[in-house]
Symmetry: C2
Subunit: 136 residues, 2 copies
C-alpha cells in the first residue's frame, strides 16, 4: 500500500463518519517494556474526546499509567483506503461502577438489550485527547 | 467490547485464514519520542515472518531503527470478534530496488496489473519476527 498521508489538527469533515459509525478500531498503546500493543476496541466520540470502556486491572490500563500515549486507527470497512489515525494521549479516567457507559457502548454497537458486564465494579471510562489526525 | 484474550506462541489453525487473506491490517510502531503510531498496512506471511513493503525515508522506518518493536492487528471484516494480534519485532530489512515485492503485494491485494511504484529505488522489504500471538 502506498498512500500519501496528510496531517490535520482535527478530523476532516469528509471522514467524520468514521468516528460517528460504530466501527471496530485499532488502539495502540506502549507497554512498560517499550514494546507496542494494538487491540481492537469499541469507542465513542463526544466531539472532543474519544471514549473507551476499560477495567483497571488490564494490561492496557497499566500501559497507560506508565505512558499515556494512545493512537486509534479507524478504517472504513467498505473502503480500506478511507481511514483516520487519531494520535493523542489519555486525558482522564472516570469510574463507571454501574457499567452505564459500557451499556451505552454496547447499544451503540448494535446490542439493544446490552446489560452491564459482570466486572462493572472495576469499569472505567478512558478519555483520550486528540492531538493530531493522520488521514488519506 | 469485552473479549477474553488468549496468548499463543504461534497462529492458531482456526485463525490462520487471517494471515492468508489479503486483509488490511493495523501496524503499531513506537516513535522516537516514545509515542505510538498505528498505520494501515498491506502484508504477507511466508510461514515464519510477516512481510511488508516500505521505503527507507518514511516515519515508520525511522521508528523501527530506533525501536524494533512491531505489533500487527488483523481483524476479520466479516466478524470483528475474530482477530489476531501478532507481537514481535523487525528481524531484517532487504532492498527491493525493482519494486518486485511491491508488485507481488499489489497482486495479492487484487490488482492483477500492479506495476512497480515510482519510488521503487527506495523500496525495502520489512521482515517481522512473531514472538507472541494474542487472539480471541
Amino acid at each position: 500500500m502506498r498512500v500519501a498521508t496528510r496531517m490535520s489538527a482535527s478530523i476532516p469533515d469528509d471522514l467524520r463518519d468514521l468516528v460517528d459509525r460504530p466501527l471496530f478500531a485499532a488502539l495502540g498503546t506502549i507497554r512498560p517494556d517499550n514494546t507496542v500493543q494494538v487491540n481492537p476496541m469499541w469507542f465513542d466520540y463526544d466531539g472532543e474526546h474519544l471514549t473507551f470502556t476499560h477495567t483497571t486491572y488490564r494490561a492496557k490500563y497499566r500501559n497507560l499509567q506508565n505512558n499515556p500515549s494512545m493512537s486509534l486507527l479507524i478504517t472504513d470497512p467498505d473502503d480500506p483506503l478511507r481511514f483516520v489515525e487519531l494520535r493523542g494521549a489519555l486525558a482522564r479516567v472516570e469510574p463507571d461502577p454501574e457499567g452505564a457507559f459500557y451499556v451505552h457502548l454496547g447499544r451503540r454497537y448494535g446490542n439493544a438489550d446490552q446489560s452491564p458486564p459482570p466486572d462493572a465494579a472495576d469499569r472505567v471510562i478512558l478519555y483520550m485527547r486528540i492531538d493530531r489526525v493522520a488521514h488519506h
